[in-house]
């Protein structure tokens, strides 16, 4: 028996190969087929008249759709608020759905002109703000309205609540959760060893030596979160040099990473890396596993992070850990901004697309979230304050970390700063690479400076990226 037709078999194989090839190419490109003709109709607000009780003119029996990032804080706190709103507006329906892929899931809906009414645009897959700025509804009237208890909302919030959500002078994102950045440690471990929480980079170096004597490391890091050290260094430099440093970064200045404040901090960090004060292998460790080396194994004694850390590591924290936070260290003992100053900003940006079917409904749901009941529920269950002030009791619902957060905010007073440059231009992915190399000792301070500068320069020189100048 012979093969009936070897040629056709060969052709078949070739075609099969080419077929797959087309299929592979096709799938890569398929993502692009989404931009149909998005019509430019604006949200139809066939709503009721506006009144003090119905400030946004929510229509009777309206439907509201909210897509909420389901990350460290979950999404049920929005459901909680939706239930309150539902009770108030009998007959309306407030639908809350979770997502971890905000950009991927909502991209076609933005293009198609039918986005949801409320979005928590957060997490690793958030939509870059500079791409959707002109499609968002301004939110100023929410803060002007009265809350469910009858007080003007603006009067119930921490000062500066609008700042992190204001781009180019337009307030378009309401950041709900108050976040501050600091260094976190176990109070019980520090007391046991008689260690003092460090205030400067020299203190850190001293503490590193003491920790090493006890067979412990100063810091731990994970590959997806190497940039927490970036945040610590940048915040330290801003405290050290004041607005001059911050504005240089925000406006993507040439040689901004060569400023003496950065160089001093990078040199100190390089010393720590060289001295082996970092738990080795971080560049290959998943970040929550790395954080557990600090919170559970206590191999490392300090961790720089945002105030979400307590909630994030709740299940992987040693009993009796007594987590406490302190402000990020400065380079010298005499910084321009006082040591107590903090990088603090509200996080979890909630946005309302202007083209949504029910803009008033999205705003109404935000108003429900800002009610005393919903905001207290959040603080109590997530152990993090919202932008609504005065809802965390002195005992911090029994959490030492939450107590220290309140203390840090009190001590900082008006010395609060924030910057948006790295998130705004999506620079984190590129910065992670540089920081992982640096923290694992494969790059020195000079290489770190060069790497960070290249990332900044690339954004500055890219004419297709819309820049947002920052002046104050």
């Amino acid at each position: 028996m012979t093969t009936p037709n070897p040629l056709s078999r060969r052709l078949f194989l070739q075609r099969a190969a080419v077929g797959t090839l087309l299929a592979t190419g096709g799938s890569t490109l398929l993502a692009a087929c989404a931009a149909g003709g998005g019509d430019d109709k604006t949200g139809s607000n066939t709503g009721a008249d506006k009144s003090a009780d119905n400030p946004f003119g929510l229509a009777d029996k309206a439907t509201v759709e909210a897509i909420i990032f389901n990350g460290g804080y979950g999404y049920d706190y929005v459901q909680f608020a939706a239930d309150i709103a539902q009770k108030k507006w009998a007959g309306s329906s407030f639908k809350v759905a979770p997502s971890t892929q905000i950009a991927q899931q909502l991209q076609p809906r933005f293009v198609g002109g039918n986005p949801p009414d409320l979005i928590d645009n957060s997490g690793a897959n958030q939509i870059g703000f500079n791409t959707i700025l002109d499609q968002l509804s301004p939110l100023d009237d929410i803060f002007e309205a009265n809350n469910y208890e009858g007080t003007k909302i603006a009067d119930t919030l921490y000062p500066g609540a609008k700042i992190p959500g204001t781009f180019d002078g337009k307030f378009i994102a309401m950041n709900y959760v108050l976040t501050l950045y600091g260094l976190w440690y176990s109070d019980s471990l520090f007391k046991e060893n008689g260690w003092e929480p460090p205030k400067t980079y020299d203190d850190l170096l001293d503490l590193g030596a003491k920790a090493k004597a006890k067979g412990k490391y100063l810091f731990a890091w994970g590959k997806e979160a190497a940039t927490y050290y970036h945040t610590m260094a940048v915040d330290g430099a801003i405290k050290e040099g004041g607005d001059e440093v911050r504005l240089a970064l925000e406006n993507l200045k040439e040689n901004c990473w060569s400023m003496p404040q950065f160089q001093g901090i990078f040199a100190a960090l390089e010393k720590m890396v060289k001295a082996g004060y970092f738990v080795p292998g971080g560049a290959g460790t998943q970040f929550t596993a790395a954080q557990a080396k600090w919170s559970n194994d206590q191999q490392a004694i300090l961790y720089p992070s945002g105030s979400w850390i307590e909630n994030e590591m709740k299940k992987a924290t040693k009993a009796g850990f007594n987590m406490k936070g302190i402000p990020e260290p400065t380079l010298t003992a005499n910084p321009k901004l006082p040591y107590e100053s903090l990088r603090s900003a509200a996080g979890e940006p909630f946005i309302i697309p202007a083209k949504g079917k029910n803009v008033a409904g999205g705003k109404e749901l935000l108003r429900a979230m800002l009610s005393k009941e919903a905001a207290t529920n959040f603080a109590k269950t997530r152990l993090a304050p919202t932008i609504v002030k005065g809802l965390v009791p002195a005992d911090g619902f029994g959490s030492t970390a939450l107590q220290s957060q309140s203390a840090m905010l009190d001590a900082a007073g008006t010395n609060i700063f924030d910057y948006q440059v790295f998130g705004l231009y999506g620079m984190n992915t590129d910065q992670l690479v540089v920081w992982n190399s640096f923290l694992s000792g494969q790059a020195d301070a000079a290489a770190l400076t060069k790497g960070l500068q290249e990332i900044t320069d690339k954004v500055r020189n890219d004419s297709s990226v819309k820049k947002i100048p920052v002046t104050k």
């Binding site: 080419v18 993502a31 959707i132 080795p280 690479v433 494969q442």
Partner: protein, 332 residues
């Protein structure tokens, strides 16, 4: 249909090929068997390609319906983008190493379980060949993302199995070694995972191909005094050349993609971007930087590289005598 078969072809054909009446049968037949597949192909394959080409020439952000035509700007930018070029180099490296190593390994295993057995009696595989076959096929049953996550755990410093075993046997330098976090080992480690996941499937493919060869060929070779190695190199490989070529193209395409494995092992692109691949860069550019036009240009380049790769494989195969070998097989 059979009536139309003209045995001696030639001039007569033109006489036969005249227009026939378009009956309902013929029309419906054409619509269903020609029209529908063609429409599916045009709508789901051709039109996305054309659309993608168009988007790659615009500055579309991906989140609005507006865009401006920017000509070849995206492509110019692409060839000055050091991170993307690094990703291209990584992909090319993967497309060279992964297929070769996988094919050599799977071919060796396939030979062992089919003709590598006892030197007397009929030509057969090793003892318990069925067992080895199942064991090596096993990784292919697991989804790629799971393979990636499992190996990411194995490679984890200090608590991963690999470092634990290595430090147990006295190599203390590996106690906290970050296999995926060191630029020297991240790429080889990632390649290893991809190869581990693919060997079983290609082994089964090659076994099927070897089984398709007339056993008397192997017996004749053995009678002529050819050893196992000689048989494998001079008989098996030439006879299943087509399968090897197809395997190479398939593996190459998998390596040019590699998104799933790399995203599971090193979502950020690895130390110094040493494991960053084009699809990862495309994904970040599109979704976290909001530059769909630019990332579509990356997609077009990826498609071009893939086609180029297939072309190179076919050409190399043809030039190294793929055709001659096939004739030998036909004569058989």
């Amino acid at each position: 249909m059979t009536q139309e078969a003209v045995p001696d072809g030639g001039p007569k054909r033109s006489v036969v090929r005249r227009r026939r009446p378009l009956t309902f049968d013929r029309v419906s037949f054409m619509v269903v068997f020609l029209g529908v597949p063609l429409a599916v192909f045009v709508i789901f394959v051709v039109s996305p390609f054309v659309q993608a080409l168009w988007y790659s020439l615009t500055d579309w952000s991906g989140f609005s319906s507006g865009m401006n035509f920017v000509g070849l700007d995206n492509y110019v930018k692409l060839f000055h983008d050091d991170i993307f070029l690094k990703a291209v180099r990584n992909n090319v490296l993967l497309a060279i190493v992964v297929p070769i190593v996988t094919i050599v390994l799977s071919l060796t295993l396939a030979t062992l379980v089919t003709i590598g057995g006892s030197g007397t009696g009929t030509v057969r595989g090793l003892k318990n060949a069925g067992f080895y076959r199942i064991v090596s096929f096993f990784p292919y049953v697991i989804p790629a993302i799971v393979i990636g996550l499992i190996w990411a755990q194995v490679f984890t410093p200090s608590s991963g199995i690999l470092d634990a075993v290595l430090s147990k046997i006295g190599l203390s330098g590996f106690e906290n070694y970050a296999w995926l976090g060191d630029a020297r080992t991240a790429m080889p480690a990632s390649m290893f995972v991809m190869i581990w996941g693919a060997v079983g499937f290609y082994m089964v493919l090659f076994i099927a191909a070897i089984r398709g060869i007339d056993p008397s060929v192997f017996e004749a070779a053995r009678i002529d005094g050819a050893g196992r190695f000689r048989t494998a190199i001079s008989l098996t490989v030439p006879l299943i050349r087509d399968n090897v070529q197809t395997a190479y193209v398939y593996l190459g395409i998998a390596a040019l993609d590699a998104f799933v494995y790399m995203q599971a092992l090193n979502p950020g692109g690895g130390p110094q971007n040493s494991t960053l691949v084009m699809p990862q860069q495309l994904f970040t550019t599109a979704f976290s930087k909001g530059q769909f036009g630019y990332s579509t240009a990356m997609g077009v380049v990826l498609a071009a590289v893939t086609m180029l790769f297939a072309l190179v494989v076919f050409t190399v195969n043809a030039l190294t005598g793929g055709r001659d070998q096939r004739k030998v097989k036909v004569r058989r």
